[in-house]
Amino acid sequence: MLNQLRPALVLLVAMTAVTGLAYPLAMTGIAGAIFPAKAAGSLIERDGKVVGSSLIGQNFTGANYFHGRPSATTAADPADATKTVPAPYNAANSSGSNLGPTSAALAERVKGDLDTLKAENPGQPVPVDLVTTSGSGLDPDISPDAALFQVPRVAKARNVPEDKLRDLVAGQIQGRTLGLLGEPRVNVLALNLALDDLAKR
């Protein structure tokens, strides 16, 4: 075994240096040079201030904005650090709900959200993504149906015609990649930024 020690030590140190430092640092340099905005986290600035990342969802609650999906992320309880409290779209602590298909807690939560949404837009089927939490709790997207479902509420809150908002949503729909991969979607932050721009004009 002892004659194995030298190769083991030397290779460990060398591999640590190459794969643990040289590789990630070189990649950081190259990526920062070729794709500076993306490497930094696809941040969006308005008036010189960072308002978010185009890839990270935000917790929209007002009736005058389109809402993202429910989020199960949490944060440490300010009153008691050993406990956690719900903190939707906490981008420093991603997580899903981890509730299973026979969970009573899941049934209660979904039913509550369903009742709220049905009251908001009666007679329309509720898209499933509006009542389910995403895997990361930071899903930036909703389905096109989920965006269209919210049009009456936003139109009322902003006092704009529904047709105008439907056009706005239609313009924000991203199709499947290469027409094949993933699912069609609407980026909620981008949609709401466009909504604010609409109001300014």
Partner: protein, 571 residues
């Protein structure tokens, strides 16, 4: 289920299949020590390393020397990683000011990365500094994968050689796997991932003011360089807590697709390396076919189950499939496909929360791991795991016709079968033994977040994932406790080394044997009959061992879900 979903799945299989031959040819050259197109750059580096390390590249090792080298190397790697995690608070590259990792969590995480499991008791963005992510985790992602590939190559040489004591040099195989295979692919892959929006920065977490005026702290970091090797090396430990579901760890449908391909590509190509080295590529294709059959069956079941969303969602009249725990940009098909791939291989990265899968949708990932991750499997580990089953299958076939079993001209005798059984049996011992323990002690029962059979599934999944060196989880389980951190770590160690060492023993024993020329009585091992036999042996061994535990967890939960039953937690 949609036509588009099936097309996405079919295209995936086609792309992986198309890559098998070219990558297999390249890796064969690498491990035979031949020149490749990267040699002009890498050969001088390689020679320099060997000179400093005192390695003679032509000096080969016996199976004991090979195993010893691997163990010493992994042990030192473990000590280094443990030290980095414990000291991260005083080391550089720690903009989020993470404190030292607790001893039990550091033990669990070091074990997890050295064994290529990458179980996440830690929550990336809330626990680890950038230095720990790079120097600790990224580095181990490379070398643990490289050791897996090395052991598979040693076993292949055992079959390919005759009347010799040596299997090659662990040092050379490990170095070449890292420098010639993993690193070059990762460099290209990292840049692709950044082009899709994956961060690669040493800057600190960003504070944003949302449109509604709230403060949002956004965790970033050197993500892409780690994710590239995390997928390619079937490691699977996330930079972020939510792993590949996190938009920064998997920004687009295209990044998702390439991540899925990178999980399978080396494992699949190693079957071709096997075929080439034993001098008959058909032997490799036969093994890949057996893997492929099991894989496609698993994908079909999980996709169907997730599209139907049996349980709470369907009871409430929602259609559109089980989107709880899934991301909009991937949808049902790409999430179900990912779940089956990541558990068929020993990757364990997740792009959707397996804990929130339907009972039957979550059953398949569980079975994939319980079968020993032989469906493509971890890089190296999948091939040597499947070759263990091949030995058992050949033995069973030999018993049926009453002659000494042979495989590729090697007589399969008592020693090989005993070692194969040792490798196979240590997995259920860890998976079922610890599950049984956790369901009777209070420290274990404190873990599950879900009540009823799903809570049992959470425990079973954890130990299954640990022993199979997968690393995915039913994440509701509170596993960052002394009890779970230590028992899971034991499961990982046994699941890794009590398979690898018997495999090397088999390799040593096979290499020493003479090659017997094929005769009319030799059972052909490249045809449909052999593929069927192999699939049958894998399924029967898995079924006999694990059916009772599955019946208590996902199967009973499925019937409860159909009946509309729900379970509330006591507290």
């Amino acid at each position: 289920m949609t036509t588009n979903g099936w097309i996405q799945i079919a295209l995936y299989c086609a792309v992986v299949l198309a890559l098998v031959k070219p990558l297999g040819a390249y890796m064969t050259r690498v491990f035979n020590g031949e020149r490749t197109f990267l040699s002009p750059v890498l050969a001088p580096i390689e020679r320099g390393l060997y000179r400093v390390a005192g390695i003679d590249a032509r000096q080969e090792q016996t199976w004991l020397g090979y195993a010893g080298g691997m163990i010493v190397f992994n042990l030192l790697g473990f000590v280094l990683l443990y030290a980095i995690l414990r000291l991260q608070a005083v080391l550089p590259y720690n903009p989020a000011e993470q404190s030292a990792v607790a001893p039990d969590l550091a033990f669990n995480t070091s074990t997890s990365f050295v064994t290529n499991t990458n179980w996440q008791s830690y929550g990336g963005e809330t626990t680890l500094s950038y230095l720990s992510q790079m120097l600790g985790l990224t580095h181990q992602n490379f070398v643990s994968a490289a050791s897996g590939i090395a052991v598979a190559v040693a076993l292949i040489r055992g079959f390919a050689r005759a009347s010799t004591k040596t299997l090659g040099s662990f040092w050379v195989d490990m170095t070449r796997a890292t420098l010639y295979v993993l690193l070059p692919i990762c460099i290209v892959f990292t840049l692709f991932l950044v082009s899709q929006g994956m961060p690669q920065t040493l800057g600190g977490y960003v504070d944003a003011t949302t449109l509604e005026g709230a403060k949002q702290t956004i965790a970033v970091g050197p993500v892409a360089s780690q994710v590239a090797i995390k997928m390619l090396g079937t490691n699977g430990g996330g930079f972020f807590n939510a792993n590949a579901a996190h938009p920064f760890e998997n920004p687009t449908a295209l990044s998702n697709y390439l991540q899925m391909i990178s999980i399978f590509v080396i494992g699949a190509a190693l079957t071709n390396v096997f075929g080439r080295m034993v001098g008959d590529e058909r032997q490799g294709w036969a093994i890949l076919a057996a893997m492929g059959l099991l894989f496609v069956a698993g994908v079909a079941v999980t996709y169907w189950a997730e599209a139907n969303a049996t349980g709470v969602l369907s009871q409430l009249g929602l259609t559109g499939g089980n989107m709880e725990g899934k991301e909009t940009r991937f949808g049902i098909a790409a999430s179900a496909l990912f779940a089956v791939i990541t558990t068929a291989a020993s990757c364990g990265a997740v792009n959707a929360m397996h804990d929130s899968f339907t009972a039957l949708g979550g059953l398949i990932p569980l079975i994939n791991m319980q079968l020993g991750e032989v469906i493509i499997g971890g890089v190296g580990a999948g091939l040597y795991g499947m070759l263990i089953f091949v030995i058992v299958a050949i033995f069973v076939a030999g018993l049926m016709v009453g002659r000494t079993p042979e495989y590729l001209g090697k007589k399969i005798e008592a020693k090989e079968v005993k070692m194969a059984m040792l490798g196979i049996l240590c997995l259920p011992l860890m998976m079922l033994g610890f599950t049984a323990l956790a369901t009777v002690v209070s420290a274990g029962l404190a873990g599950p977040a879900n009540a009823g059979p799903h809570g049992f599934s959470e425990i079973l999944y954890a130990y299954t994932s640990a022993a199979a060196n997968n690393g995915s989880a039913f994440g509701g389980l509170t596993a960052n406790t002394l009890f779970y951190n230590s028992t899971l770590a034991i499961g990982m160690l046994v699941g890794r080394f009590f398979v690898k060492i018997p495999v090397l023993a088999i390799a040593g024993s096979l290499a020493a044997k003479k090659t017997v020329p094929a005769s009319a009585g030799t059972f052909p091992t490249h045809g449909g009959l052999f593929i069927g036999l192999l699939v049958g042996v894998v399924l029967i061994m898995g079924g006999l061992t694990f059916f009772p535990s599955l019946a208590l967890g996902p199967i009973v939960e499925h019937f409860a879900a159909v009946a509309g039953q729900t379970f509330a937690t006591g507290g």
